[in-house]
């Protein structure tokens, strides 16, 4: 594979936004079928370079979380951070939105939300998405 092509793959988007709806992508290996997030040009399980973008579910399970009183200087503190386990077998680090501290708990369902991005110190747009607890349906 040409270097330019490889570089392009390394930077394949992890997020697409269509009509206000966010969609996350994992990198999935066509040889061993493992997935990684964010997408990568080479599979860490088998070193295959046959990696393709695969859409990730909108809903996952909250593995753990913390409210950072003083987080990274690029972000406005306090903010919630979390690890979210997705049905595709990847764990995603993300910030949380619309949290009710009284009901927040490990293993609760959370869903992808679009948020207003900020520019980080590398000039990249970050915070384009967060996860939020799935709203309880009123009977």
């Amino acid at each position: 594979m040409a270097d330019a092509e490889r570089l392009k793959l390394s930077h394949q988007p992890y997020l697409a936004i269509a009509s206000g709806t966010p969609q996350l992508f994992a990198g999935t290996c066509e040889d061993c079928h493992h997935s990684v997030f964010p997408p990568a040009a080479v599979c860490p399980f088998c070193m295959s370079e046959r990696m393709v973008a695969k859409p990730i579910s909108k809903q996952g399970k909250l593995y753990s979380y913390s409210l950072l009183a003083q987080g990274a200087p690029e972000f406005e503190s306090p903010y919630y951070v979390a690890y979210i386990d997705m049905p595709e077998g990847v764990r995603i680090f993300a910030q949380l939105a619309d949290v009710d501290p009284a009901t927040l708990a490990c293993d609760m369902p959370v869903e992808l939300r679009l948020t207003t991005p900020k520019t980080d110190r590398y000039g990249r747009k970050v915070g384009q998405f967060k996860f939020a607890p799935v709203a309880r349906r009123t009977p």
């Binding site: 493992h34 997935s35 990684v36 997030f37 964010p38 860490p44 593995y63 753990s64 979380y65 913390s66 409210l67 950072l68 009183a69 003083q70 987080g71 990274a72 200087p73 690029e74 972000f75 903010y79 951070v81 979390a82 690890y83 386990d85 077998g89 990847v90 764990r91 680090f93 993300a94 910030q95 708990a105 490990c106 293993d107 980080d120 590398y122 990249r124 970050v126 915070g127």
Partner: protein, 380 residues
């Protein structure tokens, strides 16, 4: 493989030394280790320096002050494991027969370093680029551990009370004041559920040891301390699910060091673990086999982590009280265990200690539980 012994130690009180530079506070520590080992600087054939926040060539910059140049000097960066890896390399050099005498030391000055450079990654590290900080990572481990095993915030706070109580007995500790449970529970929140007094301070400091081939040790020290075993691993990249209550790199390193030494958790008289945050004592007690998964808190509640308990845990005050300058932290643990085994640990002495263990992890890298884990077993 040749036997290797520690024959000299150098240590300083960790703390804030913002009005000086790391070279000025590190050279006396190195010199003290040489003096205690009763070796000349010319006898030292090789030096390894662990540092993560002091820029390039920290070892040369410190050692030139003592005229200790010309020999191979290797600078080691492994985040919080830097010093322990430096020691391991010195051990390997003597064990393999390349050298008879070696110096291993660590130095860093976090108070002038800004954000710890070892913890800043390029744009490729997803977690840190998107807002993770080290207290947040451990807070999430704590949250999950509490969820899985029913551990409470009060129990976590008791770990800080214990650490500070031992720090008050350690003249090398950054914090030397006891705190009450109420003070811990009222200290400001850093990363829920971890409060300020649950977290190690960012310190400045240096620590050093002189090693030599076992057969030469009795010429230099009335009570040399043997390095029984040494083990180092990197964390495995696991982009999928992982159990954050059971740090896998510590689990593998412990398994290997027990196999190497022929010893088990029941043989260890005291342990220094990487308690950058209170939850770590529970995580690593489980991983190192002192307790079954989720049961470490029972050892804490029963007083088994105390100096007269079943497995004295961080009776130096640990990173929580002694401080955590990164580079020298792993060496400071080894200095503490050496002093304990030599019966010179003063008010925090573990009576009759014959075998001690050190454990230090290193670094946050997305997808790895830690960048590094380094352990040593020492004995007299």
């Amino acid at each position: 493989m040749r036997s290797v012994s520690i024959i000299g130690t150098g240590m300083m009180r960790f703390g804030k030394y913002s009005d000086t530079n790391m070279v000025d506070f590190a050279w006396p520590v190195v010199k003290a280790a040489l003096v205690e080992a009763d070796v000349t600087r010319e006898q030292i054939q090789v030096a390894y320096c662990g540092s993560a926040a002091s820029g390039s060539m920290a070892g040369q910059r410190v050692l030139k002050r003592l005229g200790m140049t010309g020999m191979p000097i290797t600078n080691v960066e492994g985040a919080c494991s830097s010093g322990a890896i430096a020691l391991r390399l010195a051990w390997m050099g003597i064990a393999a027969g390349f050298y008879d005498y070696a110096l291993a030391f660590g130095v860093d000055q976090l108070n002038l370093a800004g954000r710890p450079p070892g913890l800043i990654h390029g744009t490729e590290d997803w977690d840190f680029a998107y807002g993770l900080v080290m207290p947040g990572l451990y807070a999430m481990r704590a949250r999950r551990y509490m969820h899985d095993y029913g551990v409470t915030e009060t129990q976590l706070a008791k770990i800080a009370v214990k650490s500070k109580r031992y720090g008050a007995k350690n003249p090398y500790a950054h914090f030397q004041e006891e705190v009450t449970l109420e003070q811990v529970m009222a200290s400001r929140m850093v990363a829920d559920p971890l409060r300020m007094l649950h977290c190690c301070p960012r310190s400045d400091g240096a620590a050093a040891v002189v090693l030599c081939a076992g057969e030469l040790a009795n010429r230099h020290s009335p009570k040399p301390v043997r390095i029984i075993a040494s083990s180092q691993h990197s964390g495995k990249y696991m982009p999928g699910f992982r159990d954050m209550t059971m740090p896998e790199s510590s689990l593998r390193t412990a398994k290997e060091i027990y196999e190497q030494s022929g010893l088990g958790p029941e043989d260890i008289d005291l342990v220094e673990v990487h308690d950058a945050f209170t939850i770590n004592e529970l995580l690593y007690s489980d991983a190192l086999g002192f307790s079954r998964p989720g049961e470490a808190v029972k050892l804490l509640e029963d007083g088994e982590f105390e100096a007269d308990g079943k497995i004295p845990m961080n009776v130096s005050g640990g990173l929580n009280s002694r401080g955590h300058p990164i580079g020298p932290t792993g060496i400071a643990q080894v200095v503490e265990v050496t002093h304990q085994l030599q019966g010179r640990a003063g008010a925090r002495q573990v009576e009759g200690a014959k075998i001690g263990m050190t454990h230090v992890t290193g670094g946050g890298v997305a997808g790895l539980d830690h960048g590094a884990c380094t352990m040593h077993i020492l004995g007299v």
